[in-house]
């Protein structure tokens, strides 16, 4: 067995996942904020932040889609060992991870149903850099407005119009992470 696969998980899962979840929850509750997370050492091209997010939120009950370069043997093996999430096509995914370019148009993901809008995918978008340099965000969780370096504007504007259906996003870069729920209105730049 490939011993590298065994590495890179949480050393103290109950505590580390509690801390990571608090960060993720805070970010989805306060779009535009950026926090650092750590504890996982996933194989490339997964960032630390994306690895932490997957270990914290995913398990055998959450079908996962790997986009483009993220669908590689190293990542698949690491996920099989540490998380156990079944790897599925995008339409069946509860979670998905990859670069914005690799995702392409995000129209095929589950956006929930009118009776169960929660049955929608959460996309973990890996970015080169993550900063507050970007378009203005308004909506629940935001006192007046915040800003975030989004990879796109129109997609997120279109997503918000689907409310209460829609996708929810987490942006990761290195150890940094930010969130953008479907409720956030992104202003044109």
């Amino acid at each position: 067995m490939d011993t590298d696969v065994l590495k890179g998980g949480f050393s103290n899962a109950p505590v580390q996942s509690a801390q990571a979840f608090r960060a993720i929850m805070t970010l989805l509750a306060r779009p535009g904020e950026i926090l650092g997370v750590q504890g996982a050492m996933p194989p490339a091209p997964l960032s630390v932040a994306a690895g932490v997010t997957l270990i914290t939120l995913c398990d055998p009950e959450t079908p996962l889609f790997l986009a483009g370069a993220w669908d590689c043997p190293e990542v698949r093996k690491w996920i099989a060992f540490h998380i156990g999430a079944p790897i599925v096509p995008r339409a069946q995914a509860h979670f998905a991870v990859g670069s914005w370019k690799d995702f392409g148009p995000v129209t095929d993901f589950a956006i929930g149903t009118p009776q169960y809008p929660d049955r929608s995918a959460t996309l973990i978008v890996e970015l080169e850099t993550l900063s507050t340099d970007g378009p203005a965000l308004r909506g629940p969780g935001i006192k007046t407005h915040t800003t975030l370096s989004l990879p796109d504007v129109e997609t997120f504007q279109a997503n918000a119009t689907l409310f209460p259906l829609g996708l929810d996003f987490l942006f990761t870069s290195g150890t940094s992470i930010a969130g953008l729920p479907r409720t956030t209105k992104v202003e044109a730049t």
Binding site: A13, P14, V15, S17, A18, Q19, F21, R22, I24, M25, T26, L28, A29, R30, T56, L57, C58, D59, E61, T62, H94, T113, P114, Q115, Y116, P117, D118, S120, T122, P140, G141, I142, K143, F163, P164, D168, P181, R182, T183
Partner: protein, 300 residues
């Protein structure tokens, strides 16, 4: 049958941090995130049987257990008070299973679990308020079927609720709902605020994260900070956050929700803050109510 002969201490240590196993916590955490992304929508979750009965706050306890970190400071209140028996019992549960610090001071807590009240002191951005919810469905008393109420939420069909409130007005001249007064969140979902007195409704537009757990009914919902929460009303009968028309007899506060305490068999009444920490802090700062005595002279 070795499991019959372990000690209580060994049993408790055998449980995970904050009692729940990691897989259960992940399931609850995912529900919380969807709840925050769809404010006011009730997310179904596979609630577990907890070591306290349904109705005692199993939903709130599961949400708190999924949210707590070792560095948290927890406050638990029931009816606004830290010393009520169920608040004491839940606080002890988390002291034992999560080993976290606890406090009675609203300002010092990072997580506050509550039953039936929102603290008087405004909560800040770093804080989380976890509500225990008995019946999460605001339409349940108008329509007992879950199949029907789910349909009504999906169609944003809230006419039944407005008819009920309007009938109240035509019959009583006022909306006859004093607690668990329904709200509309971000102009979309009608939500049950849990059985808080309607006095507390306006506080729901706050800086802290609000999470709601209904264990028996298997629902979690949430309100992110700075989210619009409007109590349902009519232009000619606007919502009114009422309370007893008195000041606290101990600390003199005229802006806090009051409990009415019967003092003797002649029916003598006294009004005191329901939020015990708020009252104590005011007395500590030197405020004295009509029947109170300065803190330094009283024996506590």
């Amino acid at each position: 049958m070795t499991h019959l002969y372990t000690t209580p201490e060994a049993e408790m240590n055998a449980y995970n941090f904050a009692y729940l196993d990691e897989q259960t916590k992940r399931m609850i955490r995912r529900a919380i995130l969807k709840g925050l992304a769809i404010p006011g929508y009730q997310v179904p979750f596979a609630s577990r049987e907890m070591p306290m009965p349904y109705g005692w706050g199993t939903g709130g306890v599961q949400v708190s257990a999924a949210v707590l970190m070792p560095e948290d400071t927890l406050k638990v209140i029931d009816q606004g008070a830290d010393d009520t028996t169920n608040a004491v019992s839940i606080r002890k549960f988390f002291e034992k299973t999560a080993g976290i610090a606890t406090t009675e001071q609203t300002t010092k807590a990072s997580v506050i679990q509550t039953r039936h009240r929102i603290p008087e002191a405004a909560l800040s951005e770093g804080q989380i308020l976890v509500y225990q919810v008995p019946i999460p469905e605001p339409l349940r008393f108008l329509e007992p079927s879950e199949v029907e109420t789910r349909k009504m939420h999906s169609l944003e069909e809230y006419g039944l609720m407005h008819v009920k409130l309007y009938e109240d007005i035509s019959r009583h001249g006022a909306i006859a709902t004093a607690y668990a007064y329904p709200v509309k969140v971000e102009e979309r979902y009608v939500m049950d605020p849990s059985p808080i007195p309607k006095f507390d409704n306006p506080k729901m537009e706050m800086a802290a994260i609000q999470l709601f757990g209904a264990g028996r009914e298997q629902r979690i919902y949430a309100i992110p900070p700075y989210t619009q929460v409007v109590s349902l009303d009519f232009d000619d009968f606007p919502f009114e956050a009422s309370k007893a028309d008195h000041a606290c007899d101990l600390c003199g506060a005229d802006d806090s929700y009051l409990d009415e305490v019967i003092m003797d068999d002649k029916g003598t009444r006294m009004f005191v803050c329901s939020d015990t920490d708020y009252c104590a802090a005011r007395r500590h700062a030197g405020h004295v109510g009509a029947q109170g005595i300065p803190e330094k002279e009283s024996v506590i």
